[in-house]
């Protein structure tokens, strides 16, 4: 049972890295629907680096950094150039699909060295993810910086009037979101999968996005959601470990995480939830800030 639980926790780690970065993004008022793209770039660059250098550490660093570059690019498009945030994120995502297919698919089937694991099964990065949840929660709700970030996400013109620089507050959030998206992808390809296959992220970035909506922008709820979806995802991958003798075809089991995501999104959109949600949602989310 322990190996199975460890796998679930590793999936939760991927979702947490990607989700907590996106949560920070969205709290500052920038929507990045292209986490899947950030993850793809992180996964591909991390994998290729580790494959050639033989060092997982360098792979992680490069994967994270490349994620950060594309996070910055999203900031450049959506904050400075004031492009529609969905269009910009879609562009980065589609670019990621195209570029990683060209760049990394020649490594299909290659593997990288085994990651160090605690108790032989769980990557220590899981605890980094938990720590990040705590750090982001602490920054957002207990510090002056967090107040600035939240006010920029709520009403940038009011924030500006009180002397907060909207652009300078949003950029770090978007870049950190990108770094974490890249880290999530690198963790996926280097530790969780260890193997390259065509577009390996498999919708994980989109589930992370759905989890952020589900979390009502609260890091602890995101943690709970990631743990639940870790189990759901892993159930889809190896159901026989979960329920021995389960006769369902592989394809049906693989649908579960995606069906669960849809169900969760429907539930949080019902009027009952919406009353709570409407209060929590950063009011300026998705709107480019244009100074008048």
């Amino acid at each position: 049972m322990w190996p199975f639980i460890a796998r679930c926790l590793e999936v939760a780690t991927i979702l947490l890295f990607a989700g907590i970065g996106e949560l920070l993004d969205q709290r500052s008022g920038v929507l990045n629907v292209g986490i899947e793209g950030l993850m793809l770039f992180g996964a591909a660059s991390g994998f290729i680096t580790a494959f050639h250098t033989g060092s997982l550490l360098i792979g992680f660093i490069i994967g994270t950094a490349v994620g950060g570059i594309f996070g910055f690019l999203h900031g450049l498009f959506s904050i400075t150039l004031k492009v529609n945030q969905i269009v910009s994120a879609m562009g980065i995502w589609i670019f990621a699909i195209g570029f990683t297919t060209f760049w990394a698919d020649r490594y299909s089937g290659s593997t990288v060295p085994l990651s160090p694991r605690m108790g032989n099964h769980l990557s220590p990065l899981f605890f980094l993810a938990i720590a990040l949840v705590f750090i982001v929660w602490f920054i957002l709700s207990k510090t002056h910086l967090g107040l600035k970030i939240r006010s920029v996400g709520e009403d940038p013109s009011v924030a500006e009037a009180t002397g907060i620089n909207v652009v300078r507050t949003r950029y770090p959030c978007v870049v950190v979101g990108g770094l974490l998206g890249g880290l999530a992808g690198a963790f996926m390809s280097l530790t969780y999968l260890r193997l390259w296959g065509h577009l390996p992220t498999d919708g994980m970035g989109w589930i992370a996005l759905a989890l952020v909506l589900f979390s009502m922008w609260k890091p602890w709820i995101l943690l709970a959601g990631a743990l639940i979806f870790g189990v759901v995802w892993q159930f889809g991958i190896s159901p026989e470990l979960f329920v021995p003798g389960l006769g369902l075809p592989l394809g049906v089991c693989r649908m579960f995480p995606f069906i669960a995501t849809i169900v969760v999104l429907i539930v949080i959109s019902t009027p009952k939830f919406r009353r709570k949600w409407g209060l929590a949602k950063p009011a300026a989310l998705g709107l480019p800030y244009i100074k008048e």
């Binding site: 498009f77 269009v87 980065i92 195209g98 020649r106 989109w206 909506l213 394809g251 849809i262």
Partner: protein, 363 residues
Amino acid sequence: MRPKLGLRGLKLEKVLVLTGRDAVKISVASIITAFILFSIFLLLEGANPIEAYGHIFSYAFDPRLGLPTTIHRSTILLFATLAFILPLKAGLWNIGMEGQLYLGTVGAFAVAYAFGNLPSGILIPLMLITAGLFGAIYGAFAGFLKGKLGVNEIVITLMLNLIGYWLLYTLVVGGPWMGIAESQSRPLPASAWAPMIWKVPFTVFLAPAIAVMLYFLFKRSTIGFQVKALGSSQPAAEHAGINPLKISLFVMVVGGALMGLSAYHTWAGDPAFHLIPRPEGYRGIGELTYWGIMVGLICILNPLAAIPAAIFVGSLKEGGTVLVRRLGLTYGLDYVFMGILFLTFVALQFFYRYRIMRVKKKG
């Protein structure tokens, strides 16, 4: 406040009203920029860009070589673009063309396997209707959730794509539709094959016809006006008595049906298929539909402009395959080109809001 530009003699000015002509200029500029950037990329890869473009387009439009496939793939892309454009006119992001294609495939093949001995004249319309219906049901689900509860349609449609992929996988790989070759489906009965007109499947003419119909829908009809009104401002549309649920449902149902319909064309219209290929194969076609997002945006959501744009991208896609064979380049350069094109288009969207003006000197 006027943003300042670091260059002397130039300043930025806000664009108050974006004319259609300006938008076209921006799209054309992004295509040209993408060609320049991709040429640099080809040089870095060690290829002569002019030679590479020559190979791409001469192969893609050569009737003995790439042309039939170019036409076939461009048609899928045109269907995908139209299925993307219509919902976005109403402000809904339908990125579920992949799943709608898969669902349409399920519908079309279910009919073909069940009633394979019917004559073509009955079987083919039946397959088309069922494929469209299955795609429409997919679209209706996302459209209803968006219109009724405001559920984020981007995530929903993407999740449905993945579900669609695994649904087809379940049916084909070791499932009830498995053919002689494992992980491929049984072939379609000959009566289900698309009849050819001038050596191309008749469905090729269907897509541009629908594009023209959509154009007039936006231009002339009440519902087209309502779609556009909802897309520009939901509160204003509601104030004008437009029912957002009805319009959301309408655009997603029609969009889904269009893409579902294309499933028939995809598998029955190309003699190389006539069955559901292995998962890498049908996923490859499914991924093609994502370029519809880019084509739709670059065409500024104009269904008529989508026709040449889809042919252009389809020819790049098909012609790009020769780069591997003739120039020994790595597979997937066509994907890189489209990615670059999308990014340059995003960057140039800046000019939707600002334009660079020369400051007139006084005196």
